[in-house]
């Protein structure tokens, strides 16, 4: 029987699962983190001046830019007093060699859909506050989330990006002139949005049915197909539980995930608060 020795990189390409297993047996991950450790997260608010609110979020190498633009529009027939939020996620071929140019990939569509569901069901913003004049004019917020570097766990970055960008949005005070049917807005008076809830996410994957990996990188994502995402809010309530793939998840795993998600919430809230403070000082 012949044995071959490979360089680490070659071994990773030939046997990605074995490669990960070797690390996990020593209770560490390929990038040196512990199983329960999140990558370094940074948030930069107000980086794009052509938007009404924006943020740049980095989780490790995964980088996402979220820009929100507000436009005035006629409200929907079914809800004449409410404005609306339109999220969209773009995963361009620039962010990873996995994505080919063309129409939005399934991954991007699933991300857009889940963010849409989160916005609808978690009542983050009272849509009535976006109303300028009932039945004639409301604010529409277009939230475009562009991923520029994909290194796993894009969903977390997108959610954090969206929520922080929303908290960065300042809308001009708008009045509806009935006689002319026009909306007038003054640039001088800018009002921030009143967010009723600030949910932040935490994503995990389960590898080999036993190892719970927090904040998977792209390498880990490609071999650990069981993914769990928990989004909780400031009161410790849960807004989303999303779990796909794999057959090894038990309530114990979920309990652990929920408690780690709560700790993560405190971490993210602190990072965002620091960023807001330093932003206000500038």
């Amino acid at each position: 029987m012949s044995t071959q020795t490979y360089e680490a990189e070659t071994f990773r390409k030939l046997q990605p699962q074995e490669y990960l297993r070797k690390f996990l047996l020593k209770e560490v991950r390929p990038d040196g983190r512990e199983l329960k450790q999140f990558r370094q997260t940074t948030v930069n608010l107000g980086c794009i001046s052509t938007t009404n609110g924006s943020s740049l979020v980095r989780i490790g190498n995964t980088t996402v830019v979220c820009g929100i633009k507000a436009e005035v529009s006629v409200p929907k027939q079914t809800s004449t007093k409410e404005g609306y939020l339109v999220p969209n996620v773009e995963l361009s071929p620039m962010c990873s060699p996995k994505f080919k140019p063309g129409p939005p990939s399934e991954h991007a569509q699933v991300l857009s859909e889940n963010i849409n569901r989160l916005l609808k069901s978690a009542s983050i913003l009272d849509l009535n506050t976006l109303c300028i004049h009932e039945g004639s004019a409301v604010w529409v917020l277009y939230a475009d989330i562009v991923c520029v570097n994909y290194d796993g766990n894009v969903f977390d970055a997108c959610v954090i990006g969206l929520i922080t960008a929303l908290s960065n949005v300042k809308l001009p005070k708008a009045t509806f002139a009935e006689e002319e049917g026009l909306v007038k807005a003054t640039e001088e008076l800018l009002i921030p949005l009143n967010l009723s809830r600030l949910p932040y996410p935490a994503t995990f994957s389960i590898f080999d049915g036993q190892y719970l990996l927090v904040d998977p990188t792209e390498v880990e994502e490609s071999v650990a197909h069981e993914v769990i995402t928990i989004i909780c809010d400031e009161a410790g309530q849960i807004c989303t539980v999303w779990k796909v793939g794999g057959i090894s998840c038990t309530p114990k795993h979920l309990e652990k995930c929920i408690s780690i998600a709560r700790e993560r919430y405190i971490e993210i809230a602190a990072i965002v608060e620091n960023e807001e403070k330093s932003n206000n000082l500038i």
Partner: protein, 221 residues
């Protein structure tokens, strides 16, 4: 909300299930109904696969989800991802390398809990097609009302009115969680209550599936 549900069911009662097999002339097919929600699933495979989708060591699973009205959008794409990920862990794909197993789900009537209906329909269709599986997936949905009551297998109207919507899929052998989708605002305790109630309801669905298979075998195809 109200003590009675719209259709006078108990809180933890699922709607009457109806299963029909061999509905269409494909390798396997099944129609699964939760009351008025009906999904028809048809399976084609293992069959020939395009070279670019070919996997050397296992079968490629391709899912198509067609809605009741309108053309497929991001919602349907998400359902496709969910079904595909669930099936990839259950089907013994390594027995059929370099082939394609095509799953098509068509929603015939949508009265709430459609993803759960689709997962169950897919399970029945796979059994009908005779594709080897490690386990089978059964799914159930529930909602939490504003007053905290949990309603199992909600109709469309109950979903629209309530605080949060959950869909769970379990596997039969170990009743582990295969898939979970919960959107809304709820506490951890409420979540696990939903989990337990759905697990119990899933057991009923498993019994119905057993009966349907027994019926099929004893009465011949």
């Amino acid at each position: 909300m109200s003590l009675n549900r719209v259709d006078k069911r108990k809180f933890t009662e699922i709607r009457p299930i109806s299963i029909e097999q061999n509905y269409v002339n494909k390798d396997g097919s099944a129609l699964f109904k939760f009351g008025d929600s009906a999904v028809l699933c048809s399976i084609n495979g293992p069959t020939e696969v395009k070279v670019r989708d070919e996997k050397l060591d296992k079968a490629t699973i391709d899912v198509l989800f067609k809605p009741w009205i309108g053309s497929p959008g991001t919602n349907e794409k998400t359902h496709e991802l969910v079904l595909r990920s669930t099936l990839e862990s259950i089907i013994q794909a390594n027995l059929h390398p370099r082939t394609l197993i095509q799953v098509v789900c068509q929603v015939l009537m949508d009265d709430g809990s459609i993803l759960a209906t689709a997962i169950n329909a897919t399970t029945m269709a796979l059994i009908n097609a005779g594709i080897s599986m490690r386990d089978i997936a059964v799914a159930v949905s529930c909602v939490i009302c504003k007053d905290g009551t949990i309603l199992i297998d909600p109709k469309e109207q109950e979903i629209e009115e309530n605080q949060s919507f959950h869909t769970f899929a379990f596997n039969k052998v170990s009743l582990n969680l295969l898939f979970c989708e919960s959107f809304g605002v709820f506490t951890e305790k409420q979540y696990f209550d939903c989990y337990e109630l759905s697990k119990t309801a899933a057991q009923e669905v498993i019994n119905e599936i057993h009966n349907a298979i027994k019926y099929n075998i004893t009465n011949g195809r």
